[in-house]
Structures are given as structure tokens and as C-alpha cells.
């Protein structure tokens, strides 16, 4: 209907850059990020009529993007991540050679993190979401957010290899 289409366009124009960035950072693969962004927004379009009018649309789109990326990463892989103990970050090999700058170093470190930790860290540090907003997007309690963020920070700190 025209209102939904109109509303969708407004949401898309307002949030496309942030959602694309989030997916790009989460996947680390520009070639997949655009397809996943399209899927997330298609999902948004189909779910839009049921969206609560008082819902925070930006958070809702983050949650759709996160769900879309999780599904793309594969449920089996996700369960495997949950069932087995986390690998020791220092046991993980580097992807490629030594990074030449901060950006490359971060791009090398992020994919080595489990997806749920990566998402939590990115949404907090890069997108600036509060604990309450993280809870909405990731489906966690305040305590859950606190612990996941701590784990994410620890993991990144141990995984990150500075340039040079």
C-alpha cells in the first residue's frame, strides 16, 4: 500500500548507510554485504505492516540485519560456535600478512571473532548503541549485554595485532 511503500522508502533513505556499514563490518566481505543488506531490507518491507508505530525503527533494522547475517552464516555453524568452547584467540592464525595500518589490523581481527561477539562489539563501539538498545537488538537482558560485551572486548583485545 502506498503508506507502507512510502514509509519503507523513508526508512531506507534514513538508515541504508548505517545498516550497510554494520553488515559490511559484520561480514568483512563487501561483495556479500550488498546482497545481505538487500535481504535485510526486503525482510523489513515484508514485516513493516506489523511494526509497532512506537518501535525504534533504527534498532529494528539493526536486529533484522543481525538476523539476516546470522542466517547467512548458517545455523549449523552458529550452533557449533555455541557448543564448543571458544578457541583461544592467541591460537588463531593470522589472515594474510602483518597489517599495514589500523584499519587493516581491525579488518583482520574482526572475522576471527564469533559472530555474536562481533555484532555486540560493533553495535556498541561503532554504532554507539546503549546497553538497553543492545538488549533490544540482540535479544539479551541487561546482564546478558554486560557479559557479552565484556567477552567481546576481551576477545578483540587478545585477537588484535597492531600494525608494524
Amino acid at each position: 500500500m502506498t503508506d507502507i511503500d512510502e514509509l519503507f522508502e523513508t526508512l531506507y533513505r534514513r538508515h541504508k548507510a548505517t545498516i550497510y556499514n554494520f553488515i559490511h563490518d559484520l561480514t568483512g566481505k563487501p561483495e556479500e554485504a550488498e546482497a545481505l543488506m538487500r535481504d535485510a531490507f526486503l525482510r523489513a518491507y515484508h514485516e513493516l505492516p506489523r511494526l509497532r508505530p512506537d518501535a525504534n525503527a533504527g534498532l529494528w533494522l539493526y536486529s533484522l540485519a543481525y538476523r539476516t547475517c546470522r542466517e547467512a552464516a548458517g545455523q549449523l555453524q552458529l550452533f557449533a560456535e555455541r557448543l564448543r568452547p571458544l578457541p583461544r584467540p592467541d591460537s588463531l592464525g593470522g589472515a594474510g600478512g602483518a597489517p599495514v595500518d589500523d584499519t587493516e589490523a581491525v579488518r583482520q581481527a574482526l572475522p576471527r571473532m564469533p559472530l555474536d561477539l562481533r555484532a555486540c562489539l560493533l553495535l556498541r563501539e561503532r554504532e554507539g548503541l546503549s546497553y538497553e538498545e543492545l538488549g533490544d537488538v540482540l535479544g539479551l537482558s541487561w546482564e546478558g549485554v554486560k557479559l557479552r560485551l565484556l567477552r567481546a572486548r576481551e576477545f578483540f583485545t587478545n585477537t588484535y595485532r597492531p600494525p608494524g
Binding site: 500500500m1 502506498t2 503508506d3 512510502e6 522508502e9 523513508t10 526508512l11 531506507y12 541504508k16 548507510a17 550497510y20 556499514n21 559490511h24 563490518d25 563487501p30 556479500e32 550488498e34 546482497a35 545481505l36 543488506m37 538487500r38 535481504d39 531490507f41 526486503l42 525482510r43 518491507y45 515484508h46 514485516e47 506489523r50 511494526l51 509497532r52 508505530p53 512506537d54 518501535a55 525503527a57 534498532l59 529494528w60 536486529s63 539476516t68 542466517e71 547467512a72 552464516a73 548458517g74 545455523q75 555453524q77 589500523d102 584499519t103 581491525v106 579488518r107 563501539e125 561503532r126 546497553y131 533490544d136 554486560k146 557479559l147 560485551l149 565484556l150 572486548r153 583485545t157 588484535y160
Partner: protein, 457 residues
């Protein structure tokens, strides 16, 4: 206290989420513990590194692919694993190609629908804006309702017996309609680059006007010679010279949808989703003015509040009404002076349509709202929308009555103002109400998602 517990506190400290006693405890600990101090430095460095990463932008091709998928009615792919993801991409591409080929073939073979021609070029002359023409009334009164579904149609209803007399099939999803003057043609726009033209005697599709991009709302100039079409997707208004079948475009910006025009045809007004109302001078093919309506108590920008004003014009053309019912406000705009005035009215839901009675005394507004929602539980709701009809005194903008029984959407008035015709988008129904008492005169099932309606005397 363990280092694990201090690590939690350090993480919270980074985000300024410690309570006073916790803050004091950690500050004291940090002064003594090199390990926690180094952890704090590392966490802060993590934030700095992530915030300073470049922010790449999606390519225009990504946007094109999304809107192409929407036009084709596709949903998100079922993505399971990376290999599946890539296979899905390939399959969707092949399926899309097949669909495009099939759809193209169907269009070529369809005798009912004229082939779409390319978008019209620029128009050198302004449309001929003569005074309004009287409308001769012939035949039985009829109502037209657009069925806003992927398989779009127009439902034609006998306005005396409230029975469906015909369904006119369309090849696109219709949103809006407008009757020509004289009332021989019905123009239908929507998710198509053409406007369908229906003969109102035979109730058959007889023509198609190329318009270039999807249409949000249609309006016929009071002289019957020009058809206005708003285009939310590209922020423009088309002015179609019906005799020459040529269109000119006025760029206004925003996402214009709702349209209304003063009876002398001098001014056209368009409302956009971002709360702007544009005043357009059709004879000069230019945007005259933009009004940004800033409601009091504006909620946070991120709140998803439908704020496109519903528009109506007084019969004497001296005032334009712009209703922002979610904020409980109606604004009036004086077309000649540009003066605006804000009135408080009962806060309702999303404004859908507006009309002023022929005597200029009443302003009718339809709205849908979700105000009966249970407590917040996630982002989604399965609660059916509520809504209704609000009647205001057009001079004072005080409430005369309201009817919150059902989410009314489309709104049309009989020419004498005695009967209101309303659609309910969610319940497949078209209602006729006596406009003063709001007594139900008739109701008819008009098929799925009836949205915009028109009354032909």
C-alpha cells in the same frame, strides 16, 4: 574481589555505567593494579580503533537491486550457509530473468493493456489553466474503490443499492484514483509507470498514460484539462495535459503524496512524508513555497511516526488544512499570504485522508492507529490496527464528533455533502454513512485492501 569481577567493572566503566560506589571501588583498584589499568587502556583503544574505521557506502546497483526485487514482489532469500547463499543468488537471478521475459511476453500479448511507452519528455508550455468546468451528471451514481493488492483491481459499486457491479482488473498495484471532468473517465495510478484510464460508462480499461514513475496520488484540476500526479519515489509532481497527452514535471523534493488544489486551480498543494507541505503554482510550473510543519512535542527522530499530513482545501479556496493527527495538530495555510496557524485537536493515529464538506463547515479526517496495544514486547505487533473518523468544525477546528469503531482509510463525499463514503483497508469493506448523524446507510464487501475511493454522481 576477583580480577574477573574487576574486568566486568572496567567494561562498564568504559561505558559510564558504574554506580557511585562501584566507580569509587574501581578507581581505587586501578590506582594499584597495572593489569586492570592495561585492560582499561586496551578497551578504550578498541573503541577508538572501531570508531575510526572508514564507512564505505553501498553502490547504486545495490539500491537498484533492492527496489527491483520489491517491484517483482520478491521476499528475502532463504540463506543457509555461504554456498547456499551463492546458489540462491544464482537461482534468483535466473528466476528474475525468466519472470522478466514472461512478464514482457504477457504484456506484448495482452490486448486489454496498451503497451507502455517511454516516459514523456519535458513540456515546454504550462498547462492551460482555465476556470472550472461544470460537471454534467449522467447515469447511476457509482463508487470506485482501488484494491490495493499485488493483483490490483478497481471495484465498482452501485451507490444506491450498495452492490458490486463490476471488478476492473489492472496489471499493477493501484493506490489512487481520480475522476475526470466531465465524469467519463477514471484515472488510476499506483506502482506503475503508467496511469490506467477506465471508461466510467462501460467500466472498462480503455487507455494508458505514460507517466514515468510510480504515482502516490492523483488529482484532476478543477477545469478538467490537467491531471496532477505525485511521485513519492523521486520527489516530483507531474502535470499531465490530458488533451495533448503530455506531461511536465515540477521538482519539489521530499516524498510528495497527498494532493489538493484550490478551486480556481491557481495553487496546488502536496504533502510529503517528512512533514513538509509544498505550494505549487501550476501555471508557472514551479514550486512557490515549502512549509515545514514542526509539531510541538516532536518525538525522537527515530520514532516511527507517520507524519505525512493529510490535506484538504476549503470550498472557497481560502484555507488549506494539513492534519498531523498523530501529534494532535491541524495546521491551516492561507494560500495567498502563506500564513500558517496551528490548532490543537484530539491526538489520533496516522492521518489517512481529509475532506471538507461542500458548505465549508466540517473537516473530515480518517486515521488508523495502534493505541490499544498491549505492553511493549519486542518490535512487532499482531494487534489489529484501530482507527476511525474525526469530524472537526472547519472554522474553529474544535471536535464535533469522532467514530473510533473501525480503521477508516479512504474518504469521499457525495456532491451534496450528505453522505460520507469510507473504506476500511483491513476489513474489505466500503461504508456509506449519513454525514451528520454518522448513521450507517450501507456497507458492501469490495474485496481485498480497499484504499482510495471516488464517488461519481
Amino acid at each position: 574481589m576477583s580480577h574477573r569481577r574487576f574486568a566486568e567493572l572496567v567494561s562498564l566503566y568504559c561505558d559510564s555505567r558504574l554506580t557511585g560506589p562501584q566507580d569509587a571501588l574501581l578507581t581505587h583498584h586501578l590506582a594499584q593494579c597495572a593489569q586492570c589499568k592495561s585492560r582499561l587502556t586496551a578497551y578504550r583503544e578498541t573503541g577508538r580503533l572501531l570508531r575510526h574505521m572508514p564507512r564505505p557506502a553501498p553502490t547504486p546497483a545495490a539500491e537498484g537491486a533492492l527496489f527491483q526485487a520489491l517491484r517483482e514482489g520478491r521476499g528475502p532469500r532463504q540463506t543457509a550457509g555461504r554456498a547456499g547463499h551463492q546458489w540462491t543468488v544464482a537461482l534468483v537471478s535466473v528466476a528474475s530473468l525468466a519472470l522478466v521475459l514472461l512478464f514482457g511476453l504477457a504484456l506484448v500479448q495482452s490486448p486489454a493493456l496498451p503497451q507502455e511507452t517511454p516516459a514523456p519528455g519535458p513540456f515546454v508550455r504550462a498547462p492551460n489553466l482555465l476556470p472550472p468546468t461544470p460537471v454534467p451528471i449522467t447515469g447511476r451514481p457509482q463508487l470506485y474503490a482501488v484494491n490495493n493488492t499485488d493483483i490490483g483491481s478497481i471495484t465498482v459499486v452501485d451507490a444506491e443499492t450498495y452492490t458490486v457491479v463490476k471488478t476492473v482488473e489492472l496489471a499493477f498495484r493501484p493506490w489512487t484514483l481520480a475522476l475526470s471532468r466531465p465524469l467519463k473517465r477514471l484515472f488510476v495510478g499506483g506502482q506503475s509507470t503508467s496511469i490506467a484510464v477506465v471508461d466510467t460508462e462501460a467500466n472498462e480499461l480503455v487507455d494508458s498514460l505514460p507517466i514515468g514513475s510510480p504515482v502516490g496520488r492523483l488529482l484532476v484540476h478543477p477545469n478538467g484539462k490537467v491531471l496532477y500526479a505525485s511521485h513519492p519515489s523521486d520527489g516530483s509532481i507531474s502535470l499531465v495535459d490530458l488533451a495533448r497527452r503530455k506531461a511536465s514535471t515540477v521538482r519539489v523534493g521530499g516524498q510528495p503524496t497527498a494532493l489538493t488544489a484550490t478551486p480556481d486551480g491557481r495553487w496546488l498543494f502536496a504533502a510529503s512524508s517528512d512533514g513538509q507541505v509544498f505550494q505549487i503554482e501550476p501555471s508557472a510550473l514551479r514550486k512557490h513555497k515549502a512549509f515545514t510543519l514542526r509539531p510541538g512535542g516532536l518525538p525522537a527522530e527515530e520514532r516511527l511516526t507517520y507524519d505525512r499530513p493529510a490535506l484538504a482545501v476549503a470550498p472557497d479556496g481560502r484555507l488549506v488544512y494539513a492534519a498531523l493527527l498523530a501529534y494532535g495538530e491541524v495546521w491551516t495555510i492561507n494560500p495567498d499570504t502563506g500564513e500558517t496557524q496551528r490548532f490543537r485537536v484530539p491526538a489520533k493515529g496516522w492521518p489517512r485522508n481529509a475532506a471538507v464538506s461542500p458548505d465549508g463547515r466540517r473537516l473530515y479526517l480518517t486515521y488508523t492507529s495502534y493505541d490499544r496495544l498491549p505492553v511493549r514486547s519486542g518490535f512487532m505487533t499482531d494487534e489489529p490496527p484501530s482507527g476511525g473518523l474525526l469530524v472537526l468544525d472547519a472554522a474553529t477546528l474544535q471536535e464535533i464528533s469522532h467514530n473510533d469503531t473501525t480503521p477508516f482509510f479512504g474518504l469521499a463525499l457525495r456532491q451534496d455533502g450528505q453522505v460520507l463514503y469510507l473504506t476500511n483497508l483491513f476489513h474489505q469493506t466500503l461504508y456509506a454513512l449519513e454525514s451528520q448523524s454518522q448513521q450507517l446507510l450501507g456497507a458492501v464487501d469490495v474485496g481485498e485492501r480497499p484504499a482510495d475511493i471516488a464517488f461519481k454522481p
